[in-house]
Amino acid sequence: MKSVANDTSKKKGMKTMTLQRKDALSGYLFIAPALISLLVFMVYPVIASFVISGFDWGILTTPKFIGLENYKTLFRDPVFLESLKNTFVWVIMYVPVSILVSLIVALAMDMPLRGIGFFRTMFYLPVMTPMVVCALLFVWIYNTDFGALNYILSFFKIAPIKWLTDKNIALISIALMSVWKNFGYNMLILLSALQGIPESLYEAAALDGITPWRKLINIKLPLIMPSMYFVILTSVIDAFQVFTEVYIMTKGGPGYSTYTVSYYLFNNAFEFGKMGYACAMSVIMFVIILTVTLIQDKIMNKNVQYDM
């Protein structure tokens, strides 16, 4: 009896072994296309970016290894430094404002209101709209002499503002347009987090006679923190790469006041053909984004309670 049992279990073991192997094989086959694509179009280019950044690599000339020379030049290049500064200003300006707007609208939507579906549809419309369309539309709205915005402001006795042609204002104008276009996306994520808060918590709070303000500070905000960090992280990564709106609305101008790292990188690579120099820029951008991500990750792990 005993030996028979042993025998079958052995056989079964062998069978599961081969089955496991077959499974593993099909698993690898299933991920193969995506994995190869990941290696060719993501992993290889990232590594190549680091390598190319060490070369003087033009379109027509033969590449020449120059070590860290590109990086040294970059930090003496006033246009790059200006672009870097503008990009940081952009991130610091755009991310908090857009998330604050998303949060306020999400909090307003998280109420027993009529027509929530309608509002949700409206607020997501700009997110779906192509950036090129939004940018062209706002070029027209921002027009100093004939634009709708200055006309509306004239009712409030505000003199015409040079939205896109004043050095000190152009970047802010583009950022406002981006907030308008993008807030709906983060709003939906925050709203779904708010709606995931269990009703029982509010009931307990109501028994204690809690004020709406304390409800916001002590219940709602802490409980949506995981989604909040996700929203901040993705917004920061996107904001560092701002390109299309700048390219269409101002082409970096007036002067260099709306040059961003992505824009200058694009110019160097595809207008001046300075591939090595452009790659050095992309490496710097990569390092900055990675650092910000890691810092945020550290703060996040300290502060977030995942269990609700």
């Binding site: 499974d23 593993a24 099909s26 698993g27 690898y28 299933f30 991920i31 296309p33 995506a34 994995l35 694509s37 990941l38 060719v40 179009f41 993501m42 290889y44 280019p45 990232v46 190549a48 306020i104 609208v105 909090l107 307003a108 939507m109 027993p112 209101l113 509002f119 409206m122 607020f123 419309l125 192509p130 950036m131 090129v132 369309v133 062209l136 539309l137 027209w140 709205i141 004939f146 709708a148 006309y151 308008w180 709906g184 939906l188 994520i189 709406p212 995981p226 989604s227 790469q241 390109f243 299309t244 992505s262 990188l265 690579a269 595809f270 992309s282 990569f286 984004i289 990675l290 991500t293």
Partner: protein
Amino acid sequence: MKQSKKSIILSYVILAFATLIVLLPFFWMLVSSFKSQKELFAYPPTFFPSVWKWQNYKQVLSAGSISFFQMFINSMKITIPVVVFNIIFSSLAAYAFARINFPYKNFLFMLFISSMMIPSAVVMVPRFMLFTKLKLIDTYMPLILPSAFGTAFSIFLLRQFFMTIPIDLEEAAVIDGCSKFRIWATIIMPLSKPIIATLSVFLFQGSYNDFMGPLIYLNSDTKFTVQLGLAGFRNSFSTRYDLIMAGSMLALIPVLIIYVVCQKYIVKGIVMSGLKG
């Protein structure tokens, strides 16, 4: 409920104000696209066009070096293969990550997830050089291939969905000796229609709205996509905002159609992608 009366009024005020801010620019685009050039630059501006100038649209359809219709076809030549192939290959990978055991699975999954954090600017130049070497510049391949074989975001979203499908459904098929591929094709995919719809919208939006990609890779204007052609209007028409706005309206139409048809899937998808948190 008592306290909430004030908050409800405040909420309505906020939402009404936000709706106004969101809709006014679209409204302005619509009426501007129908105005004559003279009326466009009238001061103070008129609210509605005194004469609705449909000719603007007629003119813009053939205004660029290629017709708007051709640009639309060109966009579809990129968008359709991206959507179809991305969903096939992403879902295969997602199924493997959700249900099949193989060595280094978690490591490989993390590799995909972390690739989402890589800024596209970092891979831009080497990719361009790669496609130059393959002699694929000024073709649609550089815009299709990188997303056609599955991308991290799609795989992540599909995997999340696959994990919610009850495993019992597959067990019967396993006992019958079905291969993993048949389970994927006959059980998993038919059950995943909602998430496939969601993902199709995201992929369509990403590909159709893309500007930087076509700007880098397409040179001959006969190959221009809608976004690239539209952006060119800014240079070729400079102050013809009537035509630029009419073109913008036309570029918006495909997005609007998809948006109206697939709305509920979009909300679901965003909620799912945000759950990662």
